[in-house]
Symmetry: C2
Subunit: 315 residues, 2 copies
Amino acid sequence: MAAQEKVIPTIIVHGGAGNMRKHEQVLAEYLKGIKIAVKAGYQALCGGTGSALNAVEAAVSSMEDFHIFNTGRGSNLTVDGEIEMDGFIMEGKEFRTGAVTCVQHITNPVQLARMVMEKTDHICLAGPGANKFAKLMGVPEVSTESLIVERRRKMLEEKRSFNPDTYDTVGAVAIDADGNIACAMSTGGITAQMEGRVGDAPLIGCGGYCDNDYGGVSTTGDGEAIAKVTLARNIIFYMEQGLSAQAAAEKGLHYMENKIQSHPAQGGVIVLDKYGHIGMYMTTQGMSWAYIQKDQLHYGLLKGEEFVEKTDDSM
Amino acid sequence: MAAQEKVIPTIIVHGGAGNMRKHEQVLAEYLKGIKIAVKAGYQALCGGTGSALNAVEAAVSSMEDFHIFNTGRGSNLTVDGEIEMDGFIMEGKEFRTGAVTCVQHITNPVQLARMVMEKTDHICLAGPGANKFAKLMGVPEVSTESLIVERRRKMLEEKRSFNPDTYDTVGAVAIDADGNIACAMSTGGITAQMEGRVGDAPLIGCGGYCDNDYGGVSTTGDGEAIAKVTLARNIIFYMEQGLSAQAAAEKGLHYMENKIQSHPAQGGVIVLDKYGHIGMYMTTQGMSWAYIQKDQLHYGLLKGEEFVEKTDDSM
């Protein structure tokens, strides 16, 4: 029997996949935001009380706070000009999980999802019930206006309909030195969505899934197609059957494209196996992503693109 | 290569699994209701415009209308004495799916789920958004009072807390002569649940899943555990790997019991493969179930129990 391979503590994040017909300035902001998020996650992974759960919560919270990503401040607007967000978190040791959907008037859905996981017997709270719970937990209430950015308001004005080119769910997967794996997701949904629309992000096994025995996954892309094939769960299954994180990522996205004929069925995924090995793949033109492993920051945006930097000492 | 096996048009339904510490009169009502439901489903399966989708919708609607089942009239009450229901429907050819969660003031969540599938670009609507959509579709609004039955009100009064012995989601799976498979679910949740609680039923791959290439599944039991392992999707995976409907049903429930240590993690499942072969299994003491195949009605309640009747001509 082979000696036990050592776990490499790792965090990987994505800021959404899409066909990236965006201004260069917007693309630069995605890269800026994704690097801030992955560093925030890495700090929460490696400190004294660091854990995979803290890492994915910190990374996703950072993206919720950064204007360019489609969640928290910067969320897409519903058809009525409102903001309704989904959040999800899960850990792969005891399969604890929490989610919120259609939540309003808060800045960080992923943090509320963690409270659902830790403070209730339920796995998901929706709409006004989620907001009532937020109040009970003392989560500060903010105005819808404070969550809206001009770019998203314009998107609603210009379209008032689904734009298949923009998939902007954000997500993170992390593994800590103890081999605990966690994943988290957050999204403001799609432009001009109906009131009450639940996307793939809060549905366990669709947007995210993890199991300490195999690995963790976060997906982004055509949310309805992702849900129809339970994409994240599929990828863990492929790893259970012996595929590497990378091979499972590729197989998962190709399976979705083949199986769902009625949709674009494109997307991107980030995967970690139980040692911290990376899997990453996209069938869209681009996906903002970054990971930190052994003090090296890797990141990219367009398909095939990869930059590497040493993480700076200021972290 | 073996000749193509002929499809046997079949409908199978369940009315929830549990440990059945109930009065005999209540158990008799479960059997009465489940037989009415499976017959309603079979009629919708075999008529001129019959289809698997119509069959599962008819069977689940019948249980929503029958007082004993925990959905529609007869739903469990939330901690605030309200009624919030979940519904789900899916077909296995194009993977169309629709769901509603935390919906109020309607009699048939499964019918609204089908409208989400057929009339929107979304796969799930929650809470007030789901109710707004119901209004738009012309679904009659009913009072909460008209959905409450005395037995459920007492359950809330006596407990005001989660009762691990009662799992009452209802579901149906059908295959029609064309080999199309569909499944549907409906539930009033758990007694004293928080406002906004989303259970496993509306989460694709947890309560239900189907794929014409392999089969269809509906699950019932410890909903949080079912969600954590995406039980219905797992069972389809096992069938994809070559297991029979029955072997996949058993493997799925044992996997859940082993994997989720923090919960009772018990339940029951009904399964059809792509020819109409039956899989059924429970790790609870009982589950009300019935199926009709080749004009024979099979049904039962306690583990190991099976009654067979010829379906009457009055159908």
